[in-house]
Symmetry: C2
Subunit: 442 residues, 2 copies
């Protein structure tokens, strides 16, 4: 059941006057009403300037910081219920909000306030022979929906970024985190409203009913973009059902190719970092490709080091001869996103074979060549059709913060609109503003 008062969405039982949304509404109508309100808020948001937005962001950060106990109490209810439901330790850890994590949310919002203003940037100016001045100006997208899983901190992170880019946002978090998400939202909205946050600029779907997500994905009349954040199954489900464009990456099957002209010490360091530094993320290496000319020297060394770090190696026949601990890879290993300490390894005949492997099995996320040969590096970066292509660096740098964007809402492996790490600019579009002096078309 959905009730709303004073810009706050509250769950049933919370004292609330002036309910705007009727408790008898069905889910579709509730989501429709939320979407309409978001579209209205988007029009108000277009009029906010950078100073006003940053004041609101700072206020929301303080709101989160000063509501730490309330948020922690709500989170404790979520965690207790999740434990009773038998949620595993990894999921429980994702769900947990301790004081450090709550302060990190507040700090993240303060940092978003300090980022460069994305709206209003003049992307180009053209003066035509007839005197028309055509300016291409960066503007908000309008209304975004962010659909995410168990981490409640996404509630604050996504709200901050969408708002900084002057977009209205509808958030839909994991059902196991609803109390936490609601507490975070309440803290942000109460503090934000006092600093001028427009009504309905940030809304949270206040039900765990899955029909709400389906209804949201049909609101293409009001929503401009949907961003799913979570595992592949969530992203596929959103993409399959959405009438609204989706900014997404399915998975990262990232490759490191060690060329015949590679500095093998550098290759060792990059391979170990790309696989082991944080194996559970999308920019970690999943497949190592090694030129046959350096396989005899490189594979036993890197194999020993990887095994020492606990990595299970699944290799082709050549690899298995050179790394005694390697097991045989099957065809499906080349497409696998392990997100774990497992690595597929293959020996290739030349650079062309490495590129062909990546184009066939990769996911166009992040791929690396280690080589001292500039021509080979250029060919690799030219022919590998991935969002980010590296020469002599770890794939782990594919990240909005590491790219200097100051923020990241996600990583796109699609080619339309935005590709690679997405920060504030990727939450915007542009319009053409044309100044004339009475010009008409001949």
């Amino acid at each position: 059941m959905l009730r709303r008062c004073g810009g706050l969405l509250e769950t049933e039982g919370v004292k609330c006057t002036g309910s705007v949304i009727d408790g008898t509404m069905n889910i579709h109508d509730q989501i429709l009403e939320m979407s309409r309100r978001a579209a209205s808020a988007a029009r108000v948001l277009r009029a906010l300037d950078a100073t006003g937005k940053n004041r609101i962001l700072e206020a929301m950060a303080e709101g989160i910081a000063s509501s730490g106990e309330k948020i922690a109490a709500a989170n404790a209810r979520d965690v207790a219920a999740a434990k009773a439901d038998g949620l595993g330790p990894a999921m429980l850890d994702r769900l947990l909000l301790d004081p450090q994590r709550i302060e990190a949310m507040a700090q993240g919002m303060r940092e978003v306030a300090r980022l460069r203003e994305p709206i209003g940037e003049e992307m180009s100016v053209t003066r035509r022979p007839n005197g028309l001045v055509i300016r291409k100006v960066r503007v908000p997208l309008g209304v975004l929906a962010v659909i995410y899983e168990s981490r409640p901190n996404v509630t604050a992170d996504a709200a901050g970024l969408c708002f900084k880019a002057s977009n209205a946002v509808i958030l839909r978090g994991g059902s196991e985190a609803l109390a936490s998400n609601t507490a975070i939202l309440d803290a942000m909205l109460a503090a934000g409203a006092s600093a001028g946050l427009p009504d309905d600029a940030i809304q949270l779907v206040p039900t765990t009913d899955r029909a709400a997500v389906h209804a949201l994905l049909q609101m293409d009349q009001y929503l401009d973009l949907v961003i799913p954040r979570g595992g592949e199954s969530l992203i596929r489900a959103v993409t399959q059902h959405s009438k609204v464009p989706v900014l997404k990456h399915y998975k990262g099957v990232c490759h490191v190719y060690v060329d015949r002209a590679a500095d093998l010490d550098m290759a060792m360091s990059i391979a170990l970092n790309a696989k082991c530094q944080r194996p559970g993320v999308c920019n970690a290496m999943e497949t190592l490709l090694v030129h046959e000319a350096v396989a005899d020297e490189f594979l036993p060394r890197v194999g020993e080091a990887l095994v020492a770090k606990g990595v299970e190696i699944r290799g082709d026949a050549h690899t298995c001869r050179l790394i005694p601990q390697a097991g045989p890879a099957t065809e499906s290993d080349w497409s696998e996103e392990y997100l774990d300490l497992i690595l597929a390894v293959r020996v290739v005949g030349d650079l062309a074979a490495a590129i062909a492997h990546i184009e066939r099995y990769g996911t166009h996320h992040s791929d690396v060549i280690v080589t001292a040969d500039d021509d080979g590096a250029q060919r690799f970066t030219h022919e590998v059709d991935s969002a980010t292509v590296y020469v002599n660096a770890s794939s782990r740098f594919t990240d909005g913060y590491e790219f200097g964007m100051g923020a990241e809402i996600g990583i796109s492996t699609g080619k339309l609109h935005a590709r690679g790490p997405c920060g504030l600019e990727e939450l915007t579009t542009y319009k053409y503003i044309i100044q004339g002096t009475g010009q008409i078309r001949q």
Copy 2:
């Protein structure tokens, strides 16, 4: 039935050796095979440089020019069949290729050859504190499909633009123009191949079976973008069925708002131009909004001039009092794209009411304010959420050529990827190319 030889797609009965695609394939498998070939071609196209591409474009232009008689003969067969089928005069005119139109296709391709190279542009360079150099580089999208209606010249125009941006393209023209389109394709491919055009870079769906379009729209594994060019029903059908992203505009309900601070002579000139200069196109005005403070003076004058040009006026009550020839507008008139000498006219109380009308009934295509008030102009351009917003100029300038793009593949009223007139840049994406010296993530 589909047969293929030497890079040419030919219809049954044409002498052909070395058929690659089996004549017994069903439509889905034929389209799948074409899509796979296009994806292979896209990889080859990435390696072409500007000089090579322009030489191929010049050769294709000559191929069209020197095949004028063959193209005209094929077109005569299409026209005869269309007449026998009872096609109306407007459709027949669209289908017709006379020597001037054939030469215009060749000339258009020569002009595309001379446009600035879109691929390889360095869009930004960031040097990070750790020494990584992150370059954002413009690259081709990959494989495009263009689905269009009766005008056969789109075959050459779309092929030229897609190729110039190093994309492979699958063309699907109107069924009544298949012989013409095939003749144009044959002329382009034969001449292009001799200059180095890669196999399968430009393909035409060689069947009038509608199942082919549906199959094409399911090829999201191979196709990066679909561009429908035609009427609203075509665009809606493509959007509804496509798993591939669609670059589109449904329709242009464009407004001219004459503010109380307008120069009324300028407003007259702009209103007449926006409505009458070419009423059948998407950037023509469909609704005129007039501030009530100038309605008494402006509406009788503009009404007389519009009626003298044959325009039927459908007005609100206020308008009907001031323009004797006006008939009453109904609610549906405010959303109508007439594409004809018909105009809806409404008197509004102020700028805010004009903006509210445009946001409610408009299609976010092209909207105009005529005013000498800079603050009002700024508010209008800020709050009207359209792809192109004009101050004191006709809406008719929304066009890739008028914007100085040198070409136009279409106009987007979507906000993702591209908005407004789309030229070569809008047929590209970017990738990040990162140069390191062995950096690993800490």
